[in-house]
Amino acid sequence: MISLNKRGLLAGAAALGAAALIAAAPAKAAEPIKIGFSMALTGGLAGAGKSALIAMQIWEKDTNAAGGLLGRQVKLIYYDDQTNPATVPGIYTKLLDVDKVDLVVSGYGTNLIAPAMPIMMQRNLTFIALFGLAVNDKFNYDRYFQILPAGPKPITDWSRGFFELAMAQDPKPKTIALVGADAEFAKNAVKGARIHAKNYGLKIVYDGSYHPKTADFTPIVRAIQARKPDVVYVGSYPPDSVGMVKAATEMGLKTKLFGGGMVGLQYATIMTALGPKLNGIVNYDFWVPEPTLNFKGVEAFLKKYQTEAKGKGVDPLGYYLPTYAHAYLEILGQAVKATNSLDHGKLAEHMRKTTYDTVVGKVKFAPNGEWAKTRTLMVQYQGIEDNKLDTFAKAGTRVVLYPKEWVSGKLRYPYTEAR
């Protein structure tokens, strides 16, 4: 009885609310369209989060300069999630219930996307996520879209390029070492690599993980070296990526292909710190300044970004994440324009079937919300001779080897020679 009564009440309230909304509609037209999200501005992912925010604010400014959306200005409303997943549910309810945002997008990273999902699903909201790995595998939510170009099967698509490159060599490699940090992304990256290794019949001679705070990687690299693998696949985070590269170059790691899923090697500060030590490494990337990837608008965007980023202690180049942080808002904006509405059902519908043109190229989503086709690039660091920032801003230092459409150079193989 209680619940029946309550439902009655609810229905009444909803009707009243709807009436109020209709009445308020004309007055609201002048108000900006609010887009809410959480972002890691402190804590472990703050470096990335802050650079993403700069990119998003550039989009906000440009969009408003061009007249906004649906004749209204847009306004970003965001809170710091401190890289702490526990803050995320609170932030999104605040955005939705107190700030009454019209649209929502995610913060940066799987750990900070997942906690928002139950709320999105409860309210049937269209949710575009920024760099989540396989979040929707568990939720199966049809209004979830994700901008990281991992591909429809994120776990395996992630390292597909690495393995296709390896297996195209002559003679084919026979053994592989897998190593990764004990943390979300790295574990998943190595998991995908393990599947590929099995499928290709590569013998896994080392399969280890390490604590993310490991200070010295020498023992790990040595243990790997002792097993003489043809290929070494690494899934790592920024500090340990640096540690791995340093240990590998110091000890002269003897293998034919080295790299794979090392986060951080894309960041300007880390590239300039490592400099020539990067040569020969084959690693994933999302955007590099190669002629094949010169999409419309990306240059202009990066110029703005690089001006904005100065002196803020964030990535000064902005290739890796900021381009995509700009793109996911572009998609949202384009969908709003095309459907001429803020209705989440219509937006999701549009996103499911449309191919969008963005600063990161053409984006088309698969039914599970991931990119319909992987565009995880495999790039090789080549010909780096110094530690200058400009070196990494030119074409040719990170040549694209995969996927085919974007290839801009040749693989130098094996790693021992390419170094």
Partner: protein, 290 residues
């Protein structure tokens, strides 16, 4: 898979790592071990030292270790200041145990946040000629990036050890918490003595920070990761034993390295802490405890 080659290499790598751990722990060994001040903010000061080494390197191209040496007197002064405050606020009121702990907890947070506000959270690293080299002695490889910090650390230990053993103030520092009577006989003012000792402890953080940034890239919250480690080493070594701290650091480094090589790197930190837990349970006074 076991080979002697791997074993010796693991041993050497562990010893080098241990040498570095020792540098980070030395300051705490003085402040906590000798003076009974539970300075859990010590790793935060180490990170501060690392950032100063970074600044010197980035702006003027100074050698990080040199910067560390130059910064050490400044850190000494900071240490003296912190101790004065600590003394006035807690020790004098005989109220240091719990609240002193909370105080340093707060200090740790403040240092970290100030660093974030100043530098952001991007990873920073330094350039130096000895970063990236490697010596091969037979089949054993010695990365200079690890070797140089280890040697600097040992030199620092030797210097501190000599200072404590040979000078009047040094001996007073050794006596201040363990042997009040001796201190009185020496006619030394305990507050002044502790002030010097604490300054010395924080001073070592400047150099330890420089060593840290040579080994790995840093960001402001990296310091927290070392709280457990350094306390483990100081307790394992036995409070009040400087040489014990060095030995414990080496043991921990070697243990981590061996586990990392032969078992699985992901268990390395747990092994270190398990050793600590067992040591605490069986022999709380540490290996070389008083």
């Amino acid at each position: 898979m076991f080979t002697f080659d791997l074993f010796w290499n693991a041993l050497v790598a562990g010893a080098l790592l241990g040498g570095f751990y020792a540098a980070v722990s030395l300051g705490l060994s003085i402040t906590f071990g000798q003076l009974d001040i539970v300075n859990i903010a010590h790793p935060a000061f180490v990170i501060l030292g690392a950032y100063i080494a970074y600044m010197g390197n980035e702006w003027w191209g100074f050698d990080p270790i040199l910067t560390g040496l130059v910064a050490a007197p400044v850190f000494y002064a900071i240490g003296v200041g912190v101790y004065r405050f600590y003394y006035e606020a807690f020790e004098r009121r005989d109220d240091e145990a719990l609240r002193g702990l909370a105080f340093f907890f707060g200090v740790m947070f403040i240092v970290e946040v100030v660093l974030i506000m100043a530098y952001g959270v991007d990873f920073r690293s330094v350039q130096a000629p000895y970063i990236g080299g490697n010596w091969e002695i037979g089949t054993i490889g010695i990365p200079t990036r690890m070797f140089v910090p280890c040697m600097v650390s040992i030199a620092m230990f030797a210097a501190v050890y000599t200072y404590l053993a040979r000078t009047f103030t040094g001996r007073a520092i050794l006596a201040v918490s363990q042997d009040r009577l001796a201190l009185e006989l020496m006619a030394a003012d305990p507050v002044r003595v502790k002030q010097v000792g604490f300054g010395l402890g924080i001073g070592t953080a400047a150099i330890a920070g420089a060593l840290l940034i040579i080994i790995i890239p840093i960001e402001p919250s990296v310091g927290r990761l070392y709280i457990g480690q350094v306390f483990a080493i100081v307790v394992l070594g036995g409070l009040g034993s400087i040489s014990g701290t060095l030995v414990a650091a080496l043991i921990l480094g070697v243990a981590e390295s061996l586990v990392s090589t032969f078992y699985g790197p992901s268990w390395a930190p747990a092994v270190a802490f398990s050793v600590l837990l067992i040591a605490l349970a069986v022999r709380p006074q540490g290996l070389f405890g008083r």
